[in-house]
Symmetry: C2
Subunit: 190 residues, 2 copies
């Protein structure tokens, strides 16, 4: 695929990513993505035959972004505790989006849990990446129940997000974030 | 409205409630509800003109069920701590549903956060009832930040639900439930 083709493909993925997040997967049509990109539906099918294919590409693109963010985080500090605290900051700098439309990963997962097994498994992939990374951080501190703590941290962040979004409450995100940081400090202290 | 009319209306609400939960609000059509009830679409419009009206009726029906459950809980014990523990047991006896389709209240809220303000506000109503009831329990123990604790408890339950559903992990629900009970005991101890 040439440069133009690659550019169009990425434009479709980026537009779909935003629409899936702000409207939901099921509420986004091929036409919506076509309108958002200006790429006609005819051309569109050259890149993606089905919406499921777009979903897969969107999830892979999110995983690439998250992986880049985690690598950046690892480059900034060798201290796993600092890395986990840095990861939790996502709650803060994504606050406005979260209050408006929830967590992109969590809300997609909740939506597609109600769908076919295949879509459910696609949407789970992002959580798998995060869970493994968090687990590694706890493990490198010699903590034995690292995977449990990874699930706990993700659950805390998801819970804060769902409730902050339900009540559109920015203060709740902030307070929850502080409690999550306290929890990370407690769990990682010797 | 006669008895038959009331019966049909309730059948529509019950069918819609189940479909909204298992498939999602946006993925449920008038036709789906008609098929599930055997009530023709023509008759259907006699009871509800729009899907938003059905949503409102479903949310009110859920609130009625939850209120009945909370009243039953209050009748069983006068001890607010026991009541809160009893409330948290919902995680356990709804476990199979939760793993399959998430929390009915949380997943509807997450879905409709992406919709119009009006639908968002309808879906929030159930959380408001729960938040107020939990707050009252903490308040009656003389706890000053009762509303914060109510939000925290709901966030913990939502977080456990989102992650258990994402990974279809019954053990995680069980472990989280135990930690939530420990948290309730800590917060309500003198």
């Amino acid at each position: 695929m040439g440069t133009k083709g690659e550019g169009n493909r990425q434009r479709i993925i980026d537009a779909a990513d935003g629409l899936f997040y702000r409207r939901g997967y099921n509420q986004t049509s091929f036409q919506d993505i076509s309108d958002a990109t200006g790429i006609t539906r005819g051309n569109f099918y050259y890149y993606f035959k089905t919406k499921d294919e777009i979903l897969d590409a969107v999830v892979n693109s999110r995983i690439a972004d998250i992986t880049a963010m985690l690598i950046e985080c690892e480059a900034k500090t060798r201290d796993p505790r600092e890395r986990l605290l840095m990861f939790s900051n996502m709650l803060d700098y994504k606050r406005d989006d979260v209050i408006q439309a929830g967590c992109p990963i969590g809300s997609l997962s909740s939506e597609l849990a109600k769908d076919t097994t295949e879509l459910r498994e696609i949407s789970r992939k992002t959580f798998v990446v995060l869970r493994n990374w968090i687990k590694q951080q706890f493990e490198s501190l010699g903590i034995s129940n690292a995977d449990d703590l990874a699930m706990d941290l993700l659950a805390k962040m998801q819970g804060a997000t769902v409730m902050a979004c339900a009540f559109q409450d920015a203060d709740f995100i902030q307070r929850s974030h502080q409690e999550i940081k306290d929890w990370i400090n407690t769990k990682t202290s010797n």
